[in-house]
Symmetry: C2
Subunit: 320 residues, 2 copies
């Protein structure tokens, strides 16, 4: 959650002169996303989100993110649609930041999705993987295996074992094994790469929309599914809920079949997904941003998941 | 701004079972108020704010605050109306906090209101002072002159001069003079006591509503006007804008005439209002809450205003 950059009504009025979306009726900073400043904007023509991109977002990536949302929305996926200015731009400048206005999606993120919610969300992930076809821009996964080594090095300099005994060893051992075992040649395209329950909005039991495309990148589709299984299918006590795992995998496969290679790679990708979130959470925990209006998330949730995956031998154990 | 206590969708669903306000469609933590946790809630029946009262609010005061909003709304003032549960309660419990749902008011707070906005807001303040008549509950002003001494003592122990040279002396001198000169017997009733531009929402050039009643208390009406003049009529460079001052006073008097005694007392009350905000801002600056998701406001805005008032001889200088 965050509002880092303040936007006054007067700033907003000047900004809206560039758009054709009506007169502002409400404008509130909202606790959404951890990377940017977000505002809920209601006008006489509809509801929108204004985002100001803060320093963790590379401005060079913004055409990819905004273009992707437009591409997906045009293909029927419920995702925020960037609103264009009168002269056709999605990206503007406000208070020294890059900024964009997107349509507001109705729906509420669930803290404790049940198996039916998991299935509904997995089905929409498969839709997303199909809808992204034909999108011409690409973006490398900065948080893929090549990015893990530098992060692990920075972490090792800051006493990670102060968080949990043996954490540094868990990270370095897993990193070493995973980089050697990482698959190649699996089906790939643009993935969401942060498909957590926070980013899937439900209206009753249906998916109202998928938000927060700011980690999207080109990678294996099955890696996106591994991120989802990690974030949707563990219980609060750290146990893996295989009923939810089955619901996710079945619903996904019904919309996009999985190859034998993808299935065989799942255990390694599950470990990789857990390591990726363990690394970023550990780094953020050890390097708190004094200006952030957000508490870092507990890395130990992901060290526990990684230890679980380290014992898994076959994709069946995840519900296949 | 703040979201201190998290509320999951599942918490919200359980809460809404007590109400008859429809199904939730959107639910977002919002950056509003500095004392409590606030959430924007949209259902198929309308828009609402859910507030969880945090530790700075005395639970014994909640019936006063909620009853006041109900009293004012029933008398036509645009203020949030507490929504009652099916069994008639305005106040409920959620995640270990007292909580309430109120109607959402359309409108946007202005950062730089002009003289016409000042007049519109002052006119609504006078309406508020009339609308509160007949409200049976009372609440002493905890931040009135009796509350200043203890705050000043706590401040003096923490090197206030680290904020600004001479601050401790300014506070102790002003406190001594003001407590001796504080008027008695002026017209009084329930006042808003925090009538800053943040708390007055505009739709175009009209006041859409007045929010944040959590400092409301029984005190002199003219003291409320002094708080408003302090917070609406100074420019960013610290100069007093007498055109705005005149606009406020004229619009207020048109709706509620001022007595000779009230006019004579204005300079002392202007100093008192400046001292009150100087004290709380200085205290918050010197005692930052590590859990607060908010940056303390700069006390020097109010030391500058207080030094200005200390040179004023007559209410005319404020625009009377």
């Amino acid at each position: 959650m965050a509002v880092y950059t303040e936007v006054s009504f007067e700033d907003l009025e000047r900004l809206l002169e560039q758009y054709d979306i009506g007169q502002p009726l409400s404008f509130k900073g909202i606790a959404e996303g951890i990377e940017n400043s977000n505002f809920y904007l209601q006008t006489d023509r509809g509801a929108f989100i204004l985002t100001l991109y803060e320093k963790r977002v590379n401005p060079d990536d913004l055409p990819f993110f905004l273009g992707l949302m437009e591409h997906l929305a045009e293909r029927g996926l419920n995702c925020p649609l960037p609103v264009k200015t009168r002269d056709g731009k999605s990206l503007v400048s406000l208070n020294g930041r890059h900024a964009a206005i997107v349509t507001f999606l109705t729906g509420i993120a669930l803290r404790r999705p049940d198996a039916a919610h998991c299935a509904a969300a997995a089905s929409v992930m498969a839709q997303l993987h199909k809808a992204q076809e034909g999108f011409v821009l690409t973006r490398a996964n900065a948080l893929g295996p090549e990015g893990w080594g530098p992060l692990a090095t920075l972490i090792s300099l800051k006493e990670p074992d102060s968080i949990e005994d043996g954490l540094n060893n868990l990270i370095s051992t897993s990193l070493h094994e995973l980089v050697g075992a990482w698959p190649t040649g699996l089906p790939w395209g643009v993935i969401h790469a942060d498909y957590f329950p926070d980013n899937v909005l439900f209206v009753q039991d249906k998916v109202g929309g998928v938000i927060d495309y700011y980690f999207a990148c080109n990678d294996f589709y099955i890696y996106d599914l591994a991120i989802m299984l990690n974030s949707w299918c563990f219980e609060l006590d750290g146990s893996y809920n295989i009923t939810k795992g089955q619901a996710v995998i079945q619903a996904y496969r019904a919309a996009r079949p999985l190859s034998e290679d993808e299935i065989a790679a799942l255990p390694v990708l599950m470990r990789g997904a857990a390591l990726r979130f363990l690394l970023t959470r550990t780094f953020d925990w050890l390097n708190p941003d004094p200006n952030a209006l957000v508490r870092p998330k507990d890395p130990r949730e992901y060290s526990k998941k990684l230890r679980f995956h380290n014992k898994v031998k076959h994709a069946r154990e995840y519900g296949l």
